[in-house]
Subunit: 285 residues, 2 copies
């Protein structure tokens, strides 16, 4: 598989983060340019900031769970799930509207639509509160079990640009809050994407976070354990998602900054942390 930044007709999955301080305007302009140049693009987004805001607005603020291993997640009780469904839909419709305004025929989906993402509830979650472990049972977050690559293929073949909200669907047709990074990885794997790009607050993975001079510029699929050792906080999930994507056959993963005038073009040109499936000949770590 060839992954030259200048080749056309690539299939590119872009994950746009859900943090409050990340603007997507420049990235969406990049999506429009790539699409106009003939690449197929799928956008996957988050919704944390909008969900937090809506939770505050309705007097049901987000609560975070911390697993015994230190992993943080949103406590998705039934009301929070409703709010998450609504907030991610607002983000989705805004992105679709921005792309449409740029002349790109975007179509928004969640994992329920066309059974795009099937998942299962995590079930009982162990959480640490005030130093004690407690079990949470009313949580509607889940893990993705499969992505419907054929549906994405049908939409892309029809000239549409799918924009995907991070919900999966249970066997009973219920929505689940799923991690957007892993949703992007599942979709990228299912459609055999050439490139998966995570746009985020940092410009890739740093050996010594937050020192930008310690950025890891290149890595390959044999180095994930080492990469995970460097990852802090939410970056851990991006590394895990990157591994899932590479394992599923994606050619190249970039973790790069959402800042800048052309963040996707910059990532395609090699900015951020680039993880290639096979060890590249010009390894430049």
């Amino acid at each position: 598989m060839q992954n030259s930044p200048t080749s056309s007709q690539r299939t590119i999955v872009v994950k746009l983060g859900g943090a409050a301080d990340v603007s997507h305007a420049a990235a969406l302009q990049d999506v429009a340019r790539l699409r106009s140049a003939g690449d197929s693009v799928v956008v996957v987004h988050g919704g944390s900031a909008e969900a937090d805001r809506l939770g505050e607005d309705v007097g049901h603020p987000a609560r975070r769970l911390t697993s015994p291993s230190g992993h943080e997640s949103r406590h998705t009780d039934p009301r929070t799930l409703e709010l998450f469904v609504m907030a991610t839909a607002l983000v989705n419709r805004r992105m679709v509207g921005s792309l449409q305004a740029a002349g790109i025929n975007a179509l928004g989906l969640s994992g329920l639509d066309g059974a795009l993402l099937r998942g299962r509830r995590k079930g009982a979650l162990r959480t640490v509160e005030n130093g004690r472990v407690r079990v949470v049972r009313d949580d509607w977050s889940g893990r993705i079990e499969s992505a419907n690559g054929m549906l994405c293929g049908t939409l892309l073949a029809a000239g549409l640009t799918p924009v995907i909200a991070p919900l999966a669907m249970t066997a009973e047709g219920e929505p689940l809050n799923v991690d957007g990074d892993r949703a992007a990885a599942a979709v990228a794997g299912a459609i055999g994407a050439d490139e998966l790009i995570f746009l985020t607050g940092a410009n890739g993975l740093y050996r010594a976070f937050p020192d930008p001079d310690s950025r890891i510029a290149r890595a390959h699929g044999g180095e994930f354990e080492e990469l995970l050792g460097f990852a802090q906080g939410r970056m851990k999930r991006k590394v895990i998602a990157s591994r899932e994507a590479i394992d599923a056959g994606v050619g190249r993963v970039a973790i790069a900054t959402a800042a800048g005038a052309s963040p996707i073009a910059a990532a395609l040109a090699g900015d951020g942390t680039i993880i290639e499936r096979e060890m590249a000949t010009e390894v430049s770590r």
Copy 2:
């Protein structure tokens, strides 16, 4: 065009109302049965009740505008538009989930997705308050200008059942709150539907509302002025939407009750008010 209740391979558009007291469970089971039997079905829904509830929840309750001619509408200021986008998305995802759980491969859309419904803002609205006419300029409701029948056709051909939320898109990619009945009519016209069914609180149009014995069982496309004269309140819009559908080439429109175990099957079998394009041979008014 033949419209026998027992013929298969029909294309049917069903509008499910957004009022608080209407349950959609039975209708969605009917959709699943029709789809399994080989008919193509498109669902269009409302969201008034959910939008009202969300407005109350966030402390921005819905305000109604009354036009000088007595027409009521939701004052869709920018915040109300956001709430409407979110609330209709929640309704949409729930319906998609219910259909998926029944084995039907539903896919949710709003008018923004794939530019399904293009519209334009109504602009300045004249409203009557305390007997005085006032002009409202910050309203984001709109009129539908076109429906993308090709997109619906592509989705139906792929075995998907589109479920459509009542938003249209401006030329600038902004969402607009549009009337769900007229959205259903626009979609039905664009795809050349055989049947358009409005499920609602009353079992059709009554000569002397609310006397159910005064129900108009049959009418045809030449009688719309007379029908409009009988319509009260929100029923007026269903009659206008029916006329738009018939004018756009839809074979038959039913306005029928959402109550009952099989409301769509009942409407297809002739319950409610049936409006046919041409005068039928067995007119039974």
